[in-house]
Subunit: 336 residues, 2 copies
Amino acid sequence: MKFGLFGGAIAKRGDKSPDSQGYGRLIELVQEAEGLGFHSVFLVEHHFTGAGQVSATLNLLTYLAAKTERIRLGTAVTVLPWHDPVLLAEQAATLDLLSRGRLDFGIGKGYRDVEFASFRIPKDEALARYEESLALIVKSWTSDERFDHDGRYWQYSDIVVEPPVLQKPHPPLWTGAGTDESIARVAESGLNVLFDQFAGFGRTEERLLVWRAACARAGRAFDPMQVALARAVAITDGAREYAAAVEARERRTAGMVRAYGALPGLQGSQPASYADAGRASDALIGDPDVVLRRMRELRAMGFEYVLMLLPDDAATLRRFAREIMPELQGEGAPAA
Amino acid sequence: MKFGLFGGAIAKRGDKSPDSQGYGRLIELVQEAEGLGFHSVFLVEHHFTGAGQVSATLNLLTYLAAKTERIRLGTAVTVLPWHDPVLLAEQAATLDLLSRGRLDFGIGKGYRDVEFASFRIPKDEALARYEESLALIVKSWTSDERFDHDGRYWQYSDIVVEPPVLQKPHPPLWTGAGTDESIARVAESGLNVLFDQFAGFGRTEERLLVWRAACARAGRAFDPMQVALARAVAITDGAREYAAAVEARERRTAGMVRAYGALPGLQGSQPASYADAGRASDALIGDPDVVLRRMRELRAMGFEYVLMLLPDDAATLRRFAREIMPELQGEGAPAA
């Protein structure tokens, strides 16, 4: 198995001192994660939240590119309807070039009503904008010849987009999918898929089955590194820490629901009792043996690539890297 | 006097190996320049040239922010009509935050006809777009309260722009100006001014007089660090190197005129003979004593801040830093 990180950082207006979730803290965590053997970091992108979430994600990743050597750098996700596709293609190519081919470009069509309202983009244009933008970005990266673009939402004349991307034909594209229909569409499109942190293990297993079937129908070989599963992880010692971690997780999720509406894939809550740790739930919370057992359950389903929700502190990263990862990295996937 | 750098890098499509002007080379030069005592680096931004010029300038500067500690990081210039102002404000703020307040934000309304044509933006909208964008960017940086924007070219509802800039009230704004009218407008607007590399010494001196007079009329104190003068510099040894440097300079300028049309401020050519080195011309080309004398002429005019056109090699940087800079840094400006 391979492990990445998923999350963001906070820089609020008016904060006098950077808090534990600040940009500087994120940079330190990612540098440490690289040393600990994490394969990637995927950062969110949001706008106008008032909570200080990362907005210029490609810029922050470009900074991280300079501070790291190997870890892959992903967006999760860049919402295409907000951006000029050609300027975005230039920014992403610049990151791919400077990072020596470490960009994983995660994209989406947007889901937060408040962001559509703030950008004054009708939500019913989201899919059409996403599709036009995606095609134009891929063409921008791959065309050595000048071209015109006469789209519904964007138009350009006689352009060639520079700098060139380093990964050929272009950086891997990722996108989220939750429903059976959207999973099948992504499999057919050739993009890689991000599964969310909220769906329970049962639904998560179903999703992978849907993905494999759709790949088979589309004549696409199943590659477990093209399926990234986001999961919250908390390694605890004993009942008291377990209860605190469950409470923190539920408080965090409830806050997101309050702020942004229903979250895709959200299902129920964590087992409240320590004895029930490891039973059906979304997050991996528990003593190291519980987390390891739950990770092996995911591996048995066919997941080989898990993105751990960025913890607030490096201690969790270190414990995960030392107590969990070595047990799993040597283990191959079960025969399909 | 203080010295910065001005220029870009080249990353062409189809290049198999990075050339001497590549992004990697630029990064090395800037790192070395910081160590040599250069105060700033200003990078160009261009689109669709086919020559591989830097397009995602804020991203490249964010990479440089991670690779340096003290040198200031500028755009020269970001053309506002091409960009969503709020996304641009987010990107610039992210750079300001990550660089710990080292952003110098140079902006312009655009001048290359081919870029207007490629973006399909009528050139006669340039000024109105520039003005709307600039006001919105400043508001985005400085408003802690949510606001709406109902502009002619851009509209948003209920936004607050994050992350916050680190420099308060906001990063310094710079813009180019060449005519007396535009110099006076910039002085009145409160922005800092960039004078181009092409105007001869006579016109360059006139411009500074116009600036000082306009500052006085506007009740703005004259600050020589708010006036950056771009200059090409080549340090030569003897007649043969001089002739080669003059020829290289003229070839380069002629190539830019061919590619992009008339350049603002362009005046005549360099003195062709070694004996005439140091006579009226735009660039500072000659043996170290000539370059030093020419720099002292600029200082006598009142210039305290010169941006040297990025040389192709670090040797020129080193010679400039060792043979020219120490002679000038201790010398104050003449009494006004």
